[in-house]
Subunit: 223 residues, 2 copies
Amino acid sequence: MDVLIVLAHPERNSFNGALFDTAYETFASNGHQVQTSDLYRMNFDPCSGASNFTSRKNADYLKLQIEEIHASETGGFAVEIEQEMRKVEAADLIILRFPLWWFSLPAILKGWVDRVFATGRTYGNGRFYENGVFRGKRAMLSLTTGGPVEAYESGGFNGDMMSILRPIHRGILQFVGFDVLAPAIHYGPAHVEDVQRPQWLAEYANRLKKIDDESKLDVGQYV
Amino acid sequence: MDVLIVLAHPERNSFNGALFDTAYETFASNGHQVQTSDLYRMNFDPCSGASNFTSRKNADYLKLQIEEIHASETGGFAVEIEQEMRKVEAADLIILRFPLWWFSLPAILKGWVDRVFATGRTYGNGRFYENGVFRGKRAMLSLTTGGPVEAYESGGFNGDMMSILRPIHRGILQFVGFDVLAPAIHYGPAHVEDVQRPQWLAEYANRLKKIDDESKLDVGQYV
C-alpha cells in the first residue's frame, strides 16, 4: 500500500508530531511505501493564486479555475504543487494530521487543499463525489482538539464532532472521490495525565496496522 | 459606525473585488469609518506559529495557546497581528469577503482567523459564545460561489448552504461573541449574464445602507 501522511503543526515535537511519527513508523515497518508532507517544515505556501502556475492562459486576469484547467492540460503547475499532486495520486491512503483550529483545518493545510486539489486534474467534468478522480482510494482525518470529548458530543459545549467535520469529510474528501475512514481524534492531549499519551500512540499504531480491514464511514450528507 | 472589511481574493479586479469596493464606498459615503484588510495585497502570512509573537514564554517548545495568553498579558504579538487585532476591536461591524473554496474560507482568511483571534485576547476564561469578547458587535459573511444556487439548496448537489457555513458562523464568529447577520451570497457570478453583476452590486449597496436595521441571524447550533 502507498500511504501519504500530511502534517500541519508548527511544533515538530508536539503530540501531533509524535502521532505523525507513529503513523510513519507503523506503515514503514509493515512494508508499506510511505510519503510525507510536513507542511510547516516545507514552508508550504498556502495562498492559492498566480504562484500555482508556471504559465498562464491569461496573464492579465487571474481566474483560478480557468488557469487550473489550462495547467492540467499543459503540465503548467508550479513544481511544489505538481509534487504534492503526484503524492496524492500515488497514494492508496492519505492521512491528514492536524490540530482542529476554529472547527476546521489549520490554514497551511486548508491551503494545501486549495492549491493541490485543482479542477481539471482532481475534479470537474462530471468527476465529483462517487465519480470522483480518487474513487477507490481512502482518506482519514487524524486530529487533536484543545477541548475535552464532552465538548464535542451531541448537546455539548461545541456540538457534535461529526457535524463539525462534515465540510472536510463531505466537501473535500468525498468531493474528490475518497472513501472516508473514521477519524482518529485525540481530545485535549495537553490536559491528560502523562501516562495517557504513550497509550494513545500505541493504540493508534494498533489501529493503523489493521487499517486495511476497515470499512468506509457514512459521514452523512448535507440535507 | 466603525466597519472592518476583510478581502480574501487573489485577483483584485474580480467580482469579489468589486463587491469589496462597493461596500467600502457605500459605508464611507454614508459617514462611517471604514478600515480594510486586503489580505492578498498585504501579503498576509496565514501560517500560525512562532512568527505570531515578538517574545516567547518558552522559546524551546511552541504551545500556541500558552504563548497567546503570554502575549496577551505582555503585549507580545507581532506587529502585523496586533494591527489586525486593533482593527477588529475597533469595529462595530466586520465583513469577511471571500470566494467559498472547499465549503470553507480561503486559506489566507482562515489563517487571519487562526492568528488574529488569539486566546487571552479574543476568547477564553469564560468568554465564549454569548459571553464572548465581541458581544454587541456584528459580523457578516459576504461570499461568492462557483456553482449555482440550486447546488446549495436543501437536497441539492452540495447541500444546504447554511449548514455548510455553520462552522464559520458558529465556530468562529459566534464563538468570539459576534451577532451574525445574514450572509450576502452571490452564486456563480462567473456564469451569469453581464447585466446581472452591476445589478447585484447595486442591490448589495442598498442592503448595506440599511444594515443597521438588520436583526441577528439564528445560525443554528450543532446538535
